[in-house]
Amino acid sequence: MVSTMLVRDLVAGYNGTDVLKGINLDIHPGKVTALIGPSGCGKTTLLRSMNRMNELTKKSHVHGQIKLNGEDIFAMDPMLLRREVGMVFQKPNPFPMSIRENVLYGVKASKLKVNYDEIVQTSMYKAAIWDELKERLGDNAFGLSLGQQQRVCIARSLAVSPSVILMDEPAASLDPSSAAKVESSIVALKEEYTFVIVTHNMQQARRISDYTVFMFLGEIVEAGETAQVFEAPHRTETRDYIQGKFG
């Protein structure tokens, strides 16, 4: 099922300082939404609020509403929410176990009764890593290249069959060809999943996203279809940022 997320009047921050100052945002189902903006503007905080990961940080606070298919996520069990809303991090973070165990980690953690072999194959296939690694499933995932590690991490989050996938600069620490593979698998998967992607790379946002949200100083300056935001931005800040005048 493809899910919708609605963010309403979201205020969040750390140590008593608000990083997000009232965010209202619709995440469209089955589309890729890119969050862009200069460093420190709250993109990552917004992303981490959407599966309640920022609650793991000490002295963090969140007010407002986020709804996943109409259901308030702050009323949900965070473990169940995170199975529904998966996350891929900037730095590849495979566990120090075999590739197979990495992919099955979430499945085993949530005690799902499924065919393990099948789920390993389908999720790795979706992450465009199956053909490369199908002979080496027993190897330690730490021994892979960064690009392969990141795609194993994507396969790992696909294995628990989420409906929304949050990505925090998934290609930032990868070489261009690995980044291209990650990008193409995102494009291939967007029919099945809703993607929210934080990126610093304008070209990447333009290539893969359907909607673009420009944030600045904890607020959403402009949100709209990617073509519109990039070609004819309504606000001067957006235009300046996209043209690289600040950032």
Binding site: M79, R83, F95, P96, Y105, N140, G143
Partner: protein, 468 residues
Amino acid sequence: MTAETTQTKIAESNPTLEREQIGTRRTRWLDLISPSLVLLFGLGAVVLGALSLISNKFEAYPLAFLGGTCLILQILFLDTYRRWSRFDLKAAALSLLAFTFLFILQLLPEYVTGFQINAVIHRSIFSSFFLLVCGTASLSIAVYYLWGATPRAEDYSHYPLLLVPAGLAIGLYLVLITQLIGRGLPQISWEVISQPFYNYSWPIKITIGNGWPMWSAEQRMQIGMRNHILGTMLLMALTTVIAFPIGAGAGVYLSEYSAGRLGNIVRTTITSLRAMSLFILGLTALSVSRFAADFSWAGLVRGTYFNGFHTVVSSGGSYLTAAVILSLLVIPVIARATEEGCRSLPIELREGSYALGATEETTLRRVVLPWALPNIVTAWLISCAEVAGSVAVLIFIAGRGQYGVGIFRQVTSLAYLVFDIWFGEPSFKGLMGGYQFSAGILLLLTTTGLGLAAMVSKRWLEKRYRGE
């Protein structure tokens, strides 16, 4: 601009500089003579200084060596000026100091008394110390000039300053170990290791005479260390069983759940436990066993033995008591190592686990603990070595293990045997005298083996669970 033209330019602009100084100096064999002489004398001085620290047989040689070193340093001092057009102030200062000391040493009588240390000291102790210092410094200077007086040579010239103290420390250990092996190894035999020690009178015949039971006894004696060896193993095993779960649990608690005051209290307690004197722990063990004397469960705490007629409660402590007290010593080690291991988990892995919908418990079991495992296992093995070597805790409660080994028997260990042979009663010393070195060898083997196992297992586990 190529390197060569740069060098010519520098040489042209500064005519006082010689070509040698710019880094393309070609070494002539004559240049090597003076630094190699210093090197030779430096080496000799260090070796002789170390040897004369051990015995004063070499008393006559250090003085001559010191004089020779000074002279050769002086030659180097002048030679440096001839070749590099500058004085080496370090070499000058060193040779001046050495000459001064040589003069003072000549004034000293051969045996020095007084200095408020109530001892007679051979003057070789002064010369050997100075010889070591002087030799190390001249080695350093010699290496500097042998290497061509470049910045890299300056780096290399520091090596003697690091290597000589390290070599002295290792040499001391070698002396210790050779002493131990030389005295202990000849006495070790399979019989000594496989037989238990005992020395008691055992009833052999009970007859009824004149209406009273009469019994005759024989004195049974045997030399051996079997029960001490088995006892050490049992102590390690029991301490592991008690301390491992508590220590690892406390460590996990400290790193994962200790927010606020309670965590600080636990941490402070653990640290102060570690700082406690071991004799205090020994006294605790003693008072626990004294306290238990009035209760029916005295045997569990104080240890029992079979004396031929019936089982008797001993006056010391059982293996269980000793293990509980030793656990107090070992728990802090395991707890700190576990805490550190858990804390060293990269935050990305923890977040990665939570992001997949894993609970805290799953994260702990499948990510945090495997990550901390190398630390935990290392700490456990080191603790075992500590248990094997600990005497102070057992000193008031241990026995000779002549009535067997078991959880509720009276405690004994190899380390205690070493103490007991030297400070125990004369009859025991008469029987077992000399075997303290053999026990020492066994202890050394145990601790070395455990240390090696710790190293190997750490490497293996890190490879397995951290992908390093």
